[in-house]
């Protein structure tokens, strides 16, 4: 009798619901900033789902995937936010 599989099940459902919330905001969001914020949230929730799957399967490979998702999520969100702010991503 262990608790961990049930906790993992609960956490995965919570992350799925959180991703649905973010996806609704992504589709509905009145302004572009709302959509970028929702996409950023989606990235972080996705990273936490991958980490939880890594706990469930007892494998360290999922950690590397989580690092990559964190890296690409930051680059994408920062580039989009910068574009909204300045109309240009890389300035001379």
């Amino acid at each position: 009798m262990t608790l961990l599989p049930w906790a993992i099940f609960f956490a995965l459902i919570a992350f799925a619901l959180a991703m649905i919330c973010a996806a609704i905001r992504l589709l509905r969001g009145p302004s572009a900033e709302d959509r970028v914020l929702a996409l950023d949230t989606l990235y972080v929730n996705c990273m936490m789902t991958v980490l939880t799957l890594g706990i469930q399967l007892g494998s360290r490979f999922y950690f590397d995937i989580a690092v990559l998702i964190a890296l690409f999520g930051f680059v994408g969100s920062a580039a989009m936010a910068k574009f909204l702010l300045r109309g240009e991503v890389i300035e001379p």
């Binding site: 961990l4 914020l37 890594g54 989580a66």
Partner: protein
Amino acid sequence: MTVTEIPLWADLAASLLLVAGGILTLIGSAGLLRLPDLFARMHGPTMGNTLGLGCVLLASIVVASALAHRFVFQELIIALFVVATSPVTSILLMRAGIYRRRGDGGTDGKVVAPLDGNA
């Protein structure tokens, strides 16, 4: 299933941390739907980015250390990275929101913060 072979203390601690992380992240993302305007919505996902992610990372550290019979703390890299980067995204989005709403008087008659400086 490999997760059934870990000692009881790790099982309990990781379960508690995972449940707490799940609840915090869910509430934070629900804030995206429940809060009224963009500037208020910025605060919701910060919960998932800080304490929610911290709980999940700690649970991962606990389980990995119990499985490997030594202290594994690679998750510290993700924590450091997210702590260093998520404020940058938030501040850029905040500045973009202020910049694109300049001059339309805010949401409920209050004046939106003036665009001063280049912080």
